[in-house]
Every structure is written in structure tokens, then in C-alpha cells.
């Protein structure tokens, strides 16, 4: 492909991305192409990095995203009949007009998640959206794209966030199923991405009983399956008669995090509330969620990976969108990398 033949050095020029990439109230804005990246208000043209609700919203006139992200947005009713859609597979270049080229590189965050690569006037800006470097069997791995400006998130940008390998966390769950076989292990997961990653990893670890799913997880799991993911047998909780509580004992039930100890969980006998999230590294957070088991499962880059990634892109400038911005900015500057906070608003840290 054409872009691979060019070395990133060839993009270094005196043209300042500061001039053509701007922060506007609606979000990150590419002026010459008149297009926003993950805007949090309806706009005319939008590039959407991935399908999570704080990045993908409804009401845009024209949407550019990977085909998977478009499918997710359709499933979540973020796209209307009149929305113009352009699906771009990873690596496929598209001329946005006025000399701006767009292509997507995988971000390793969830299915279809992408870094938006914008090239203009001899310089290249990469807006990474949300991303992670840890392996994830449910989506394509992160790809390092050399660039002049790398726009990064900072959700877990503190030295205390060093995410353990997922296998260790899944092993915790498997061990608990063995030692507490009478309890229903209710695992709180976000419907998009976390749910599928956890299921897939459990299958790889040898868990072979059916998964029981809350209704809110169904459509997106089916969508993942339509892209070739295999989660083995899963059954809707609502398909099991209310009286058959024993069915769930010693099994894994997946539901949105808010449900693990809310009214919905009353249908289970002796439930064991578990939360799978990157925040679970902090004990007080886990206690606050009343989780009895805390699985550290993050779909974001941890502290080490954030810094490593910023370095690997070779970018002269790092712009930081959301999260623990101050710490990352400080640490990058200490390493002699120019970094600045974009002071973006509207990202919800509790959604991963």
C-alpha cells in the first residue's frame, strides 16, 4: 500500500498541524476538510474512531468510520436513514477534499476501533481515540503509525496503573468458580467490547459451560459473531425460568456493571458480584461498587504503554485529550517530548 512505502521522515515539514487541527466546542476539528473527530454534538461531517457512546453519537450528517464501527453505530441507532456513511477498512486511503487524506489504523480498543490518520500539506496527525497495547482476542491489535502529531487519551495515565495480563485476572475467576461452586458469578461488563473480550478470553482459558447474558449484551455479541468471533454457547438469562435458580450456580452470568447488585441480580441464588474494569486496580473503587471480586480488565493503555506509544510514534508533538492529562503531559515533557493538554470536555471516564 502506498502509505507504507513512504517513510515517516518524509512527512516532517514546517507546515504546522496547529493551524489545520483545532479544538472547537464540538470536538477536535480538521479545518481544511471541515470535519470533526468524535464530536460530542451533531455536526455536518464526523470521523468516528469507535462505537462507545462517548465517542460515537447520533445526528451527524456524514460519518466516516471503519465498517465494523458503522455496524455498531447502526445497532445502537446512532445512524439515521439520511446519514451519509463512508466505511473505510484499516489502511484504505480516502480523499476528504481540499488536500486532506484520511485513513484508519487499528487501535486495539474494541472491534472496529481505529486511529484516525489525517495527512495534509506534508504533515501527518494521528488521533488515536481510545487504544490499548495488551493483547485482545476480540479485536485487531494496535498499529504504531509514525506521525508528526500524536493525539492520545490519558484515561489511565498514572504510574499506579500497570494492567496485569488478562490471563491472570481470568484465572482468578476460574479459581473462584471452583472454590465457590454454589455461587452465581455475576460479572459486570460493558456491553460493547469488554463483554466479548472477557468471554473470548475465558474460552481460551478453557471455560466451556454456557455463558448467561443480560438482555443488554445480546445485540452487540451477535454483531461480534457476524464478524467471525466465536464465543461458544451463550444463553439469555431471560430464557431460563425464574424458578430454575440452580441453573446459574457455579456459572458465569454477564451483565452491565450497574446490574451486578441491583434489582436484576435478585433472581440469582447467592450471587457473587464481580466487576471487570481497569478501575478495579484501585481497591476503594472496587469496594465502592460493592464488588466481591475485582477483575482488572482494561481496554485502555496503561501508564507504561501510554508513554511507550507516544515515544514509538516518533511524534514531535503529543496532544492529550482526556483522562489524567496532567500526569501524562508532565511525564512526556520530562522525556523531552513536546506535550500539551487539549482541555477537551465531554468524555465520560466511567465508560470504557
Amino acid at each position: 500500500m502506498a502509505f507504507r512505502e513512504q517513510t515517516w521522515e518524509s512527512y516532517i515539514s514546517n507546515a504546522s498541524p496547529e493551524k489545520w487541527m483545532q479544538v472547537r466546542p464540538e470536538g477536535l476539528y480538521c479545518a481544511p476538510a471541515d470535519i470533526y473527530i468524535d464530536p460530542h454534538q451533531p455536526v455536518g461531517r464526523a470521523i468516528i474512531t469507535h462505537g462507545h457512546a462517548d465517542h460515537a453519537r447520533s445526528g451527524h450528517g456524514e460519518v466516516f468510520a471503519t465498517p465494523e464501527t458503522l455496524a455498531i453505530m447502526r445497532t445502537r441507532y446512532y445512524l439515521k436513514d439520511e446519514t451519509a456513511e463512508t466505511g473505510l477498512a484499516y489502511g484504505k486511503r480516502f480523499d476528504l477534499g481540499h488536500g486532506v487524506t484520511l485513513w484508519f489504523a487499528s487501535a486495539g480498543h474494541i472491534l472496529g476501533s481505529a486511529q484516525a490518520v489525517l495527512e495534509y500539506d506534508g504533515s501527518r496527525v494521528v488521533a488515536a481515540g481510545d487504544y490499548k497495547r495488551h493483547p485482545d482476542p476480540s479485536c485487531a491489535p494496535f498499529e504504531v503509525v509514525p506521525c508528526d502529531v500524536f493525539i492520545t487519551e490519558a484515561t489511565f495515565a498514572l504510574p499506579v496503573f500497570q494492567h496485569p495480563p488478562l490471563e491472570i485476572e481470568v484465572e482468578k475467576l476460574m479459581r473462584s468458580l471452583k472454590t465457590l461452586p454454589h455461587r452465581t458469578h455475576i460479572v459486570g461488563v460493558y456491553a460493547l467490547g469488554k463483554c466479548q473480550r472477557v468471554m473470548k478470553t475465558l474460552r481460551l482459558a478453557g471455560y466451556d459451560a454456557p455463558f448467561y447474558l443480560h438482555g443488554a449484551l445480546k445485540k452487540l455479541t451477535e454483531l461480534y459473531e457476524s464478524y467471525g468471533q466465536d464465543f461458544g454457547e451463550w444463553i439469555m438469562v431471560s430464557d431460563i425460568p425464574r424458578a430454575d435458580k440452580h441453573v446459574f450456580q457455579g456459572k458465569i452470568v454477564l451483565c452491565p456493571p450497574a446490574q451486578i447488585n441491583d434489582r436484576w441480580s435478585r433472581r440469582f441464588e447467592d450471587p457473587l458480584p464481580t466487576v471487570a474494569s481497569g478501575w478495579m486496580q484501585i481497591r476503594a473503587r472496587a469496594r465502592q461498587k460493592r464488588a466481591e471480586m475485582a477483575l482488572v480488565v482494561s481496554d485502555h493503555a496503561d501508564w507504561g504503554d501510554l508513554i511507550r506509544t507516544c515515544e514509538e510514534t516518533g511524534a514531535e508533538n503529543i496532544w492529550i485529550t482526556h483522562g489524567r492529562v496532567e500526569a501524562l503531559e508532565y511525564a512526556l515533557k520530562q522525556r523531552g517530548i513536546k506535550a500539551k493538554a487539549l482541555n477537551m470536555i465531554g468524555r465520560d471516564e466511567s465508560v470504557e
Binding site: 447488585n261 458480584p273 484501585i282 481497591r283 476503594a284 475485582a294
Partner: protein, 529 residues
């Protein structure tokens, strides 16, 4: 050490007490001596030494980590040990251990080293540990374990393991020392109960039944019973062998450390039972005053002078090595009086008996107790022929509390409970109206209602949500609880200026509009302040 860290993690994240007991039992059965004894000691809070000081950890971090990033991390995490456990920067060239040392090896190693050696060993361990192992080590080393398991439930676990009453464990507990080899030998059936006759130990106490006015009043007469004030302090046992003195709480917790003024004043050989209070300005103080002493593990001299500890003694179990438990209350009281006059005690008074001829007299006394602003909780009525029996024997001692105070308060915040109640909003904060028409919180309660009522309140909360503050849900000001409580004290820590003692939900006033709930001024009248 890895098993110990695993144990702490399991206990920390488990909500149910029963499940915690099972987890601890499994660990104690599967772990050899002396590790299990050290673990027990760490959890029960009986370790008497730090392995290292907190400032050693701090200085290690300052050498290894940018101070700005460390401060940001600690602010985010909320405490130092966990921050260090998570963010520990590995040494440039770390020494790798083939295996993590056992708990007892860790303890012995730290104790055998000098200051510089302690530092090196700490680095070695931290380099070789996972975050949760590091957390366990740091908490163990600085004796800062808070995993939600009380010394009481540790003892209960041991009692269940040996299939004996918890009293048995409590009566030997304070004579035992970590790593409890003799205790476990006994539990495993390999040795007899250790001989602790020369140690100052706790004797399980005798408890009273709440009086059943309809049935029990008829059993009472001045010929067979005595009446005493029921003071609003805490029940304690003063145990001394002439050289060493300990103060135990009702549940056998050693609280001597909080009351050195009392301990040093004791001058007899025996075991007394009584109520602990404080005497600010030479007068008996409220429970609120006492609480300031209870919360201090090491009280300052100034605090002890302001709030000197005082005992009102009402029973004696042993004197000069003689067991008095089988004697009658009349005989014991005589010996208590004799002991106190033989060796006058500066901080111990005998509990006076209240003369009465008729049951009406008792009613009047109880009424009088209600006028003391909470200082006296009611009456104790005791059968003079009763022996001292631990537990709650029938018809021996009665407690007759004065009626609780009642107020109509408005529900302000609710939060979900734990365990079986984790899906229900079952913990309530309620308030009274100020003169300015603001609602000010006066207390929290999470019992007093039936399961059916809980479901209804839960539904009401869900339908009347306002803002959320983390786990705390603010609700519309529309539901009135009739709240019962034993006393109220002025308190600077509460915005309303009051703290309630033992508040519970007495009735749910579905019928009452919130605007008609009580004002803060009615609380003032009730407590007579």
C-alpha cells in the same frame, strides 16, 4: 507470603462475615505453623511490633519515583501503601528470588536486621512481588491492616474450628501470644488447653435480659432483688494479678492502652465488673465525652486530665485468687465493698443500690432516669441469689431501659446495603428542619423495619431519586421516618450540631407530609440542652 497475600485479598473483597470465617478457616487448616499464627496475629491486630517504619517506604519511593507523579498517584488512590504497591518502580538490576519467603521467614528476617538491612530486604521483597503481595507486605509491616474482619470474628472462627463456645476462646485469648503454637496444637487436638493461670486474661461476662414488663415485673420484689442505675458508659472488666492490670471490653477486647490513667490507679488482685465512664470537671460525663477517649489508642496527657476515666463497679468475680462466681450476688457485693474499702481505689466507686418497696417505686426510678439527658439509660434489676454465669442466664439480671426518644425525621439520602441487601437501598440518612427551613442530617439507620417495609422503601427511593454522590443516592424530601434513639448529644462533627445514639427506624410515616416533620428545636427540647 504469597498465600498470606492471597488470604488478605480474599478477606478484603468478601462482604459476608460467614464467608470470611470460611476463608480464614481454610487458610488456618491448610497452612503450617508458625505462618498461620503470624497471619492470625496480623488479622486480629495482636502484632506488637512494626517490621519497618512508614517513613522508610516513603523515602524509598522518593528515591525511585518523581515526587510530582507520586503525589498525584497517592491523591488519586487515597492512601500510601496501595499507591506504593501499585506503582513500585523495580530496581534497575533487581535480585530475583526463586521463591517468595514464608511469612515467618519475612518476620524473622526483618527482626534480625539493622536499619540499613531492613531497607535492603524491603527492596528485595518489593522487587519480587505482585501488587497485591506488596500491599499485604506494607500493611503487615506497618500494622495497618484493615480488611473488615474484627478480632471478635477471628475468635469466633477459632471457636468454630474447635467446636467450642466463643467464651472459651475469649477466656484464653489474652494469655496467648503470636504465633500461637499452643493454641493451634490444642485446636488440632494434639495438646491440652494451655495453662494460663498466671496470666491476666478475660472472663466472659454475664449479661442481662431486657425486661418483659408484663411477665417479669411480677417476679421482682425488694426481698429478692436489687435495683441499680444503668449508666450510659461501656461495660468493662478490670482484671489484675497484682502486678499487671488490663481493661477488657464486654467482648474481650483489650482496651488498656486507651486508659493508662485507670490502669495505673488500680491497686487490687482480682477481677471486677463495671461501667466505664469519664469524669470531666469531677462530674460523670456523657457517652459522647467517653467516646473521645475510646477513639484514642494513645491518649494525650491533656485529654486524660480533661476526661479522666472512672469506673462504677457492680460485681466482683475473683479476689486474691479466690473464685467468687458461684457465690450469690449479695455475697459478691459484700466482698466487692470490702475489697474497695480495704484497698481504696481513686478511680473506682461501687454502684449504689436504689431503695424501692414497690414496683411503682421502680417505675418512678425509671422515670427519673429519663430526666438525666441520657446519662442514665434506665435501671438494672438483679436477683440477689444469682451466681455469676457468663452469657445471658434467664431471670437473673434484667435491664429496663427508659423509653426511647422519638422524632419524625425526613429521609434525605439512601445507600445500598451489603450481602443479601446489596440490591436494596437499606441505609438511610435522615434530617430535621432548621429554623431557616433547611433540612439538616441528624443520623443514619439501617434497621428497625421489616423485610416487607424494606421493599417498599427501596421502591420509593428508586422512584424519587435526585442527585447521586458516588454510592450515596439523594432522594426527594418526601418520606418521613419516626426515628427512635436512646439519647442525643451535641456534636461539632455534624452539621446539625447533634449526634444520635443508637438510632433506628421505629415507624414509616407514609401518611405524613415532610413539611410536618420535626424541627431541630424539638431535638433540643428532648435532650434538654
Amino acid at each position: 507470603m504469597d498465600k498470606f497475600a492471597q488470604l488478605l485479598d480474599d478477606l478484603y473483597f468478601t462482604n459476608s462475615n460467614l464467608a470470611k470465617e470460611i476463608i480464614l478457616t481454610n487458610y488456618l487448616r491448610a497452612t503450617p505453623d508458625p505462618d498461620r499464627g503470624w497471619a492470625l496475629s496480623a488479622i486480629a491486630g495482636t502484632l506488637s511490633f512494626d517490621l519497618f517504619k512508614r517513613n522508610v517506604i516513603k523515602s524509598l519511593m522518593m528515591e525511585r519515583m518523581d515526587p510530582f507523579l507520586f503525589d498525584m498517584s497517592r491523591d488519586y488512590v487515597g492512601e500510601m501503601s496501595e499507591t506504593v504497591a501499585l506503582a513500585w518502580p523495580q530496581s534497575a538490576d533487581p535480585v530475583r528470588l526463586n521463591r517468595l519467603p514464608d511469612l515467618h521467614e519475612v518476620i524473622a528476617e526483618f527482626q534480625s536486621r539493622d536499619k540499613a538491612g531492613i531497607r535492603d530486604y524491603l527492596i528485595l521483597l518489593l522487587d519480587n512481588m505482585t501488587p497485591s503481595q506488596r500491599w499485604a507486605l506494607l500493611k503487615l509491616g506497618t500494622r495497618g491492616l484493615r480488611i473488615g474482619m474484627s478480632a471478635r470474628s477471628v475468635k469466633l472462627t477459632l471457636a468454630k474450628m474447635k467446636k467450642v463456645d466463643i467464651d472459651v476462646i475469649e477466656s484464653i485469648w489474652h494469655g496467648l501470644t503470636p504465633p500461637y503454637l499452643d493454641l493451634f496444637a490444642w485446636i488440632d487436638g494434639e495438646a491440652e488447653l494451655p495453662d494460663l493461670s498466671d496470666k491476666v486474661t478475660f472472663s466472659p461476662v454475664m449479661l442481662a435480659h431486657p425486661i418483659d414488663e408484663d411477665k417479669d415485673l411480677a417476679r421482682i420484689s425488694p426481698a429478692t432483688h436489687i435495683a441499680e442505675w444503668k449508666w450510659d458508659g461501656i461495660r468493662v472488666q478490670i482484671s489484675s494479678n497484682g502486678t499487671e492490670t488490663k481493661i477488657f471490653s464486654r467482648k474481650g477486647e483489650d482496651i488498656s492502652g486507651s486508659f493508662p490513667d485507670l490502669v495505673s490507679s488500680v491497686n487490687f488482685n482480682g477481677i471486677m465488673d463495671g461501667e466505664l465512664l469519664v469524669k470531666p470537671g469531677g462530674e460523670l460525663g456523657s457517652f459522647n465525652d467517653l467516646q473521645q477517649r475510646l477513639n484514642k489508642k494513645k491518649p494525650t496527657k491533656a485529654l486524660m486530665e480533661k476526661l479522666p476515666a472512672h469506673i462504677i463497679a457492680y460485681d466482683i468475680l475473683e479476689v486474691d485468687g479466690h473464685n467468687l462466681r458461684q457465690e450469690t450476688l449479695s455475697e459478691r457485693r459484700e466482698k466487692l465493698g470490702a475489697a474497695l474499702s480495704e484497698n481504696p481505689q481513686t478511680r473506682i466507686d461501687i454502684s449504689e443500690t436504689l431503695p424501692f418497696k414497690t414496683i411503682d417505686d421502680l417505675h418512678n426510678l425509671r422515670e427519673k432516669a429519663a430526666q438525666t439527658g441520657g446519662l442514665i439509660e434506665g435501671l438494672m434489676i438483679k436477683n440477689t441469689s444469682s451466681a455469676y454465669v457468663s452469657g445471658r442466664p434467664k431471670h437473673a439480671w434484667y435491664k429496663w431501659k427508659r423509653d426511647p426518644f422519638l422524632l419524625d425525621a425526613v429521609l434525605m439520602y439512601a445507600r445500598r446495603g451489603t450481602g443479601k441487601r446489596s440490591s436494596y437501598y437499606s441505609d438511610y440518612t435522615f434530617g430535621l428542619w432548621s429554623e431557616d427551613g433547611d433540612l439538616l442530617p441528624i443520623g443514619k439507620a439501617y434497621f428497625g423495619f421489616t423485610d416487607e417495609e424494606l421493599k417498599e422503601i427501596d421502591k420509593w427511593v428508586r422512584n424519587h431519586k435526585l442527585q447521586r454522590f458516588g454510592p450515596v443516592q439523594e432522594v426527594e424530601k418526601g418520606l418521613v421516618f419516626e426515628v427512635a434513639f436512646d439519647s442525643a448529644q451535641e456534636s461539632k462533627r455534624h452539621k446539625s450540631g447533634y449526634a444520635l445514639r443508637f438510632p433506628r427506624i421505629h415507624r414509616i410515616r407514609w401518611d405524613k407530609p415532610a413539611s410536618e416533620a420535626d424541627k431541630l428545636s424539638s431535638l433540643k427540647v428532648l435532650v434538654g440542652t
